[in-house]
């Protein structure tokens, strides 16, 4: 039975940094299905290496490195189907993520849900289709009877609207 205090700290840290790990994998792999698969493997590795975890150490740096290795392994196993950011950029993204202000996952998701509610029906449908269900932009454009470029533009606009809305909501929450 592991030391309960160390175990609890590990649980808390892993929960707190889940978002960062997923974001990092998404940033590297740019494929949300793949990132989830690798994330799962990454969690298994983190747990299998629980014994190496030392209380008070930089957990997120350690976890991001493991995520980086798992992503690299994944890409190698895929026989270079797709290009990959170089090592320097991977490290820069790690540094950026480690420093970045990151809202708790529940907090961020709650704010996102509120902001999505405020979108128009069409916008909501579009992000559900492209970002939720993972339909490719070209297919979505066919379904919606629009050009792919117009769908890209709409998605960018919606992302910017949502980012602004979430930031305001989180700032408001902080002031309370």
């Amino acid at each position: 039975m592991p030391d309960p205090a160390r175990y609890n700290e590990f649980v808390t840290l892993l929960q707190r940094h889940t978002g960062r790990l997923l974001n990092y994998l998404n940033a590297l792999l740019l494929n949300w299905d793949d990132a989830e698969d690798v994330f799962q493997e990454c969690c298994l590795v983190l747990w299998s290496r629980f014994d190496e975890f030392q209380s008070g150490t930089n957990f997120i740096a350690w976890a991001l490195r493991i995520a980086q290795h798992k992503a690299l392994d994944f890409k190698k196993a895929q026989a270079r189907r797709q290009a990959f950011f170089n090592r320097r950029l991977q490290d820069l993204l790690i540094a950026e993520l480690a420093d970045m202000r990151h809202p708790a996952d529940d907090e961020g998701l709650a704010a996102l849900a509120d902001c999505i509610e405020k979108l128009s029906e069409g916008d909501r449908r579009l992000i559900q289709l492209c970002y939720g269900e993972g339909v490719r932009v070209r297919e979505a454009a066919v379904q919606l009877g629009r050009s792919p470029q117009s769908v890209h533009n709409s998605l960018r606009r919606i992302r910017l609207v949502l980012l602004g809305c979430i930031e305001r909501a989180l700032n408001q929450e902080q002031r309370r």
């Binding site: 649980v11 929960q15 978002g19 989830e36 969690c43 747990w47 190698k76 950026e96 993972g134 960018r156």
Partner: protein, 669 residues
């Protein structure tokens, strides 16, 4: 944001769009990479958008799961870690109980029927009947009725749970079982707990079912229903998995393990079992799962355990929840301390096979223990539950030994699949051939490992050096005809046809990664493994290079490989070989080398006087089932060993199933 946009190159935004929308080409990726490397602002915006994209995905999964009535594990960002196997202990702070609204359906539905998915239909508006929840009369009436029902069921179940609780106290498990019982009975225990204390009556997170285990391994999993794809190792009660192929191992908090074998649909119903709708699984229940049995001597505990078990079931069907049980549409297979496999076919017939210990097979819905409807299976026995007759009534029957043996072979009992390819670079770098280890080597003059490439001239010891630290590598040597007959492997096979060489080797046998890091591009010819350049012509598969500078030989143990990977054997040795060009440092074609391949001391391949200008050539050597050693040798071509930069790109052993059978039997090494 407008201000930020002005600081960034114009093409950043279209590239970001392509990245977020999953349509980034290789060229675009290189362009985005350049911008991101240069601009911290671009990186921050990129990460913001990626984070948003991730969150939208999670949000949508949550929405879909809620619509389908699934537990949270399949939906939101519940990526908390797996519970420890030992126990669902207090510090984990499991939710005290499941909400009554989720509890009721478990008891309303017949035990043998799978719970239907909630389907949200967008039907046109219809008049509201008086009994509807939307009716002003119906809502209070239904609420009152439900409340009364909950109270009645809770009182009944509370008594049952009390019995279970006392039973567990008596066997020393009381400390942890109270939390789990909240989940084990589909919420019954939780409900009684809710009635017992005010604190528990106020569930903190009603939407979260208790954690009952975690995913402890996966092999080549593909999902039949992507919405059920787990994104966290932790498993909550009610989690459902639909595997299209592959293996997934679930470790319950009780220590029981279940290996799902795709295609398979399985729901984790409680800490002590699940519902197999279709497909195969193997369950292994840890010792101590059944305290009544383990408390006595091994000689007597089985009969008494079965007797106790039957007596408990006859007292109350709900007590089955304290045993590990797999439900199927037609049967309930209850563990009696064992390892067993269960399969449900498309006609919903159930097959069960016992590998170790005993199980009880009971017709679904049969809680009375009628003779003839319950059978106990021992090791190597199988039973089939199928519907027969005009009424389609299920019946359970034992299968004969030959049928049982046939069923046994269908189940995966351990979570590993035999490799189709073994990577010799991984082996040289210290791995077992299934990984991607690189950038390590072996000194053929000493048999020791090189953790960094050592550009030094090493002298021959004129003998075969067995490798004791790696079971798949038999040994190494420096070939030199002056030594006469040279031993090639530990079986004592020798070869006396090597020419006289310089008797020296430069550096070691080195497993080089496919990619060159920028700092390794230097002008020092001693680091030939990097100075030679990318070497892509030698590695069409991009695996990496086995750098074998003359004079060096290495022998791999095919026999040890067969023993390590039961069920498969090396069938071919494949690689792309050639001499890398040292023309930048030496006169053109100065390098000259000979290459040799031996199997069990037999010369199978030889090519002499290889020059860089010859270019790469393919090696494809068939290996027989009984071959024991594969020896690869590079010697200088008679003009000294300088610039003999011999490489083997993508060196692999192709593995095929051996006659011994599959990999499903863990009893074999």
């Amino acid at each position: 944001m407008n201000q930020e946009q002005t600081k960034l190159p114009d093409d950043f935004w279209p590239l970001l769009d392509a990245a977020c929308d999953g349509e980034l080409s290789s060229t675009q990726m290189a362009e985005l990479e350049t911008i991101l490397e240069r601009s911290p602002l671009a990186r921050r915006i990129f990460l913001d958008h990626i984070r948003l994209r991730t969150q939208i995905r999670l949000w949508w999964k949550g929405e879909r799961s809620r619509a389908a009535g699934l537990s949270k594990i399949t939906s939101g960002p519940d990526t908390s870690p797996p519970a420890p196997i030992e126990t669902a202990s207090a510090e984990m702070q499991l939710p005290a109980s499941a909400p009554p609204a989720q509890v009721l359906p478990d008891y309303d539905l017949p035990w043998e029927k799978p719970r239907p998915k909630v389907v949200i239909e967008t039907s046109p508006p219809t008049p509201i009947p008086w009994y509807s929840v939307n009716s002003p009369i119906g809502l209070p009436l239904i609420a009152y009725t439900l409340g009364a029902l909950i109270m009645l069921i809770a009182i009944g179940i509370g008594a049952v749970v009390q019995i279970t609780h006392n039973y567990e106290i008596a066997t020393g498990q009381a400390a942890t079982s109270e939390d789990e019982s909240g989940g084990s009975g589909g919420g019954g225990g939780g409900l009684s707990g809710a009635l017992a204390t005010d604190e528990k009556a106020k569930p903190k997170k009603q939407e979260e079912a208790p954690v009952v285990g975690h995913i402890s391994g996966m092999v080549s999993c593909r999902w039949a229903d992507p919405s059920l794809k787990p994104i966290a190792p932790r498993i909550r009660q009610g989690a459902k998995f639909a595997l299209a192929s592959g293996l997934m191992e679930i470790t319950y908090t009780t220590g029981a393990k279940v290996i799902l074998q795709g295609p398979c649909t399985y729901e984790v119903e409680s800490p002590s079992g699940g519902y197999l709708t279709l497909g195969k699984l193997t369950a292994r229940v840890a010792s101590g799962q059944w305290p009544a049995a383990s408390a006595k001597s091994p000689a007597t505990n089985l009969k008494s355990a079965i007797r106790n078990h039957k007596s408990e079931i006859s007292k109350s069907p709900n007590l089955q929840i304290s045993k590990f049980a797999i439900r199927t549409p037609t049967a309930i297979i209850t563990d009696l301390g064992t390892e067993f496999g269960v399969e449900v076919d498309e006609d919903r017939n159930t097959f069960s096979h016992v590998f170790q210990g005993h199980v009880e097979v009971r017709l679904a819905g049969d809680v009375s223990g009628e003779a003839g409807r319950v059978i106990v299976l021992g090791a190597n026995q199988s039973a089939r539950v199928e519907r027969s007759g005009e009424e389609g009534k299920p019946r359970v029957m034992k299968l004969d030994a030959s049928e049982a043996a046939a069923y046994a072979a269908k189940f995966a009992r351990r979570l590993h699949e035999p490799p189709k390819v073994l990577d010799l670079l991984d082996i040289v770098a210290g791995g077992d051939g299934t990984g991607n280890r690189r950038e390590r080597g072996i000194d053929p003059s000493s048999g020791l490992t090189d953790s960094t490439f050592k550009p030094e001239h090493r002298r021959s010891s004129f003998r075969f050096l067995p490798i004791g630290w790696h079971r798949l590598i038999d040994g190494v040597f420096v070939p030199d005809g002056r030594a006469g007959s040279l031993q090639l492997d530990s079986a004592g096979h020798t070869y006396d046809g090597f020419p006289e060489t310089s008797g020296k080797v430069f550096g070691g046998i080195w497993a080089r990664a496919a990619e060159l890091r920028s700092e390794e591009h230097n002008q020092d010819a001693q680091y030939w493994i990097y100075v030679m350049g990318e070497g892509k012509q030698f590695m069409p598969e991009g695996r990496g290079l086995l750098c074998l500078h003359a004079n060096a030989g290495i022998t791999f143990s095919l026999e040890a490989i067969r023993k390590t990977f039961f069920g498969v054997r090396p069938a071919r040795f494949r690689a792309t070989a050639g001499l890398a060009d040292a023309g930048r440092f030496e006169p053109r074609d100065f390098g000259l080398a000979d290459f040799w391949i031996f199997v069990d001391g037999r010369l199978e391949f030889q090519r002499q006087h290889i020059r860089p200008s010859d270019g790469p050539f393919s090696i494809d050597l068939e290996l027989a089932a009984g071959d024991k050693f594969l020896t690869i040798v590079c010697s200088d071509g008679g003009n000294g060993y300088f610039s003999d930069w011999f490489v083997l790109g993508d060196p692999i052993l192709e593995m095929v199933p051996s006659k011994e059978g599959g990999n499903l039997d863990p009893a074999k090494p």
